[in-house]
């Protein structure tokens, strides 16, 4: 049976193998004179054994199917998409416009709040935090081509 620990251990082991594969481009050095790949390779080997250990000892943990993603996935995907939009839009659209759109999306589309409260909250938050951080605390925030 595929348990949580078995799946997690296998994932860690695969990640360790990827690191080992990627490390082949870097000089390993020697035991007495380590190169730039020495420590990453050592750690990846450690993680590989750790992952295998977790997988081997993980037969008693809960089954993977018991993980409850069902009620959350809609929010999880939406939040991820909003954050990704912010990362893409922050320097292209400017802080205020990006945050306004992201908040509006989360409130109006995901949380299904009314149009007016969503608009007021999104606009107020974007403008208020810009005023606080950029204008008052002098933390430079991107303005974008539209000056927003």
């Amino acid at each position: 049976m595929l348990t949580i620990d078995r799946a997690a251990g296998a994932a860690l082991a695969v990640f360790a193998l990827v690191v080992l594969w990627e490390s082949r481009r870097l000089p390993l050095g020697s035991l007495s004179n380590p190169g730039p790949a020495y420590m990453p390779v050592g750690l990846a080997v450690l993680l590989l054994f750790g992952g295998i250990g977790i997988a081997v000892l993980g037969s008693g943990s809960a089954p993977l199917s018991s993980l409850g993603f069902r009620g959350e996935w809609r929010h999880t995907v939406a939040i991820f998409a909003a954050c990704a939009f912010c990362a893409v839009g922050l320097e292209r659209l400017g802080y205020r416009l990006t945050i306004f759109v992201a908040l509006l999306f989360l409130l109006f589309v995901v949380e299904r709040k009314g149009a007016v409260p969503s608009l007021v909250f999104a606009a107020g938050f974007a403008a208020g935090t810009f005023l606080l951080f950029d204008t008052l605390l002098r933390v430079p925030l991107p303005r974008g081509p539209l000056g927003l």
Binding site: G71, I79, A82, F125, V139
Partner: protein, 508 residues
């Protein structure tokens, strides 16, 4: 001693200056808010407010950030007692008896005991910090690369040992964190490692995006879809005074929690969380009426609340004296100091006495501010919990993006935060601790540099780590810990870490 008092007087001259007091006050207020709001722990709070300190001098910045840290410890107890929701992880134990007291109509008394206990512990433990940090820093001047390597390795192993749940999983997380810390330019050879052409990754993964992602964003991803809106108890001001019997029952647990919390705080690990758990277990063991625990025992509130506050001061000892963070929160504080051009370590106290002693003195001031803030204004802070979560989490998310972006003005950091958020969310689901990852990311470059410098010193002989007494001792203790954890594993019994994991999940 006379010199210490003189230095403290210098510190108070800094801490009592109006601007520093203002920042201590602001930090305490924000910290209390951070502690009250579920999902925004002190780590995310400090990380998010870091960019706001850029325009300040280093003393004001560190005073404000420290205020957030211990303010969160105070604030965390409020929601634990009134709603059975731990505002932050260290308040998990307070939920049990604090909420039980509240249901018996003693919410005010529980809040007052938690606040007074936190105040006493916070103030007394600062004395410990004040007395212990300078001699430790003087001792650390003898440290060379082998000692630092052993110390850092020891720190990581202790963190894994102290984490709740499986040590193998914690060690795997520490290794993962160290691996993530390998991204960027190799300090000795100048090679770009795992950067894939992204210039911004040359400096490595920043601790702020990693911490905010693993703790802040992951929490939002896990909780956003869940229905919320529990009943909020709101005590009146006149109900805040505990009875004489309740005071009597809380004196000894506060004393024990203070000492225990400080000692655990010095040891690497998520000290404030562990200390509250150990304190609760100790009080239950020492109690003449252990059956009262879980049903509103005063000691079950006084002990853990004192311990988690005391641990915050203890955690500053290795950070300030050795430049070595003992957990993820000190790691972010360390990064904050570095942003301001301050290098914590043995020379900090000598080179920047005003910063060090001003910081110490500000903690006394901060504890008084928090006591004054928390009791009369508890109703005000509780009102925050009435903000519907569908409005709260988008705001927290926007603050996270703002805070992370502002540190370096780079969207790459926002992407790192996002990836770490997803990683943290998945790891939480899979029952893994994420604190060792943050510490691993911070310690990785230090450990690697210390290892390679040590080998350069010894012509490549690893015996150097065992020939020097300090490093040999540290490595021996680390080895003993591994053996101890293997013993528990072989016996297949529930050790204290497993019990703590169950308690954190609310299963005990």
């Amino acid at each position: 001693m006379l010199e210490t008092l003189h230095n403290l007087a210098v510190g108070f001259s800094v801490a009592l200056s109006p601007p520093v007091m203002l920042y201590a006050f602001v930090g305490c207020v924000i910290g209390t808010l951070v502690g009250v709001l579920p999902g925004v722990g002190p780590l995310a709070g400090i990380s998010l407010l870091l960019p706001a300190t850029f325009g300040m001098d280093a003393t004001r910045a560190i005073v404000m950030l420290a205020g957030i840290y211990y303010g969160a410890m105070y604030g965390g107890s409020t929601t634990s007692i009134l709603m059975r929701i731990p505002g932050e992880a260290a308040s998990v134990m307070t939920c049990i008896d604090g909420y039980a007291m509240a249901r018996k109509g003693r919410a005010g008394a529980a809040l007052a005991i938690a606040a007074v206990g936190s105040y006493v512990a916070g103030s007394v433990s600062v004395v410990g910090l004040m007395l212990l940090a300078p001699p430790l820093a003087a001792f650390a001047l003898r440290f060379g690369p082998p000692e630092y390597f052993a110390l850092l390795l020891f720190g990581l192993l202790v963190l894994a040992y102290m984490s709740s749940g499986s040590m193998l999983k914690s060690l795997a997380m520490a290794a993962l964190g160290l691996l993530l810390g390998m991204v960027g330019i190799d300090q000795m050879s100048g090679y770009f490692r795992y950067a894939y052409g992204v210039v911004e990754l040359g400096d490595g993964l920043g601790v702020v995006p990693v911490a905010v992602g693993l703790f802040g964003v992951a929490e939002i991803l896990a909780t956003a879809g869940q229905p919320v809106g529990p009943k909020v108890l709101k005590p009146k001001l006149r109900e805040l005074l505990p009875s004489r019997e309740e005071w009597r029952q809380s004196v000894a647990p506060i004393g024990r929690g203070t000492v225990l919390g400080f000692l655990i705080g010095i040891i690497p690990g998520s000290a404030h969380i562990i200390s509250s758990f150990v304190s609760y277990a100790l009080e239950k063991k020492l109690s003449k009426h252990p059956e009262e625990f879980g049903h509103g025992a005063v000691a079950g509130v006084a002990g853990p609340e004192s311990a988690n506050n005391s641990a915050t001061s203890g955690a500053f000892v290795p950070m300030l004296a050795l430049g070595v963070p003992s957990g993820p929160i000190p790691a972010v504080m360390l990064a904050a100091l570095m942003v301001h051009g301050v290098s914590p370590g043995p020379l900090l106290i000598k080179q920047q006495p005003e910063l060090f002693w001003g910081f110490i003195a500000s903690m006394y001031v901060g504890n008084i501010v928090l006591l004054v803030l928390n009791l009369p204004l508890v109703g005000l802070f509780v009102n925050l919990l009435r903000i519907p979560y569908p409005y709260l989490y988008p705001a927290i998310l926007a603050f996270s993006i703002l805070g992370v972006y502002a540190v370096n003005g780079s969207v790459v950091d926002v992407w790192i935060m996002l990836v770490m958020g997803v990683l943290g969310y998945v790891l939480r689901k899979l029952d893994f601790e994420t604190a060792p990852i943050v510490l691993g990311v911070v310690l990785a470059p230090m450990i690697e540099l210390a290892l390679r410098q040590s080998l350069a010193m010894s012509d490549g002989h690893y015996a150097i780590f065992f020939q020097r007494p300090i490093s040999a001792t540290l490595l021996a203790v680390a080895l003993i810990m591994i053996v101890l954890s293997l013993r528990t594993f072989v016996r297949r019994g529930l050790d204290w870490r497993a019990r703590m994991a169950l308690a954190e999940k609310g299963e005990s």
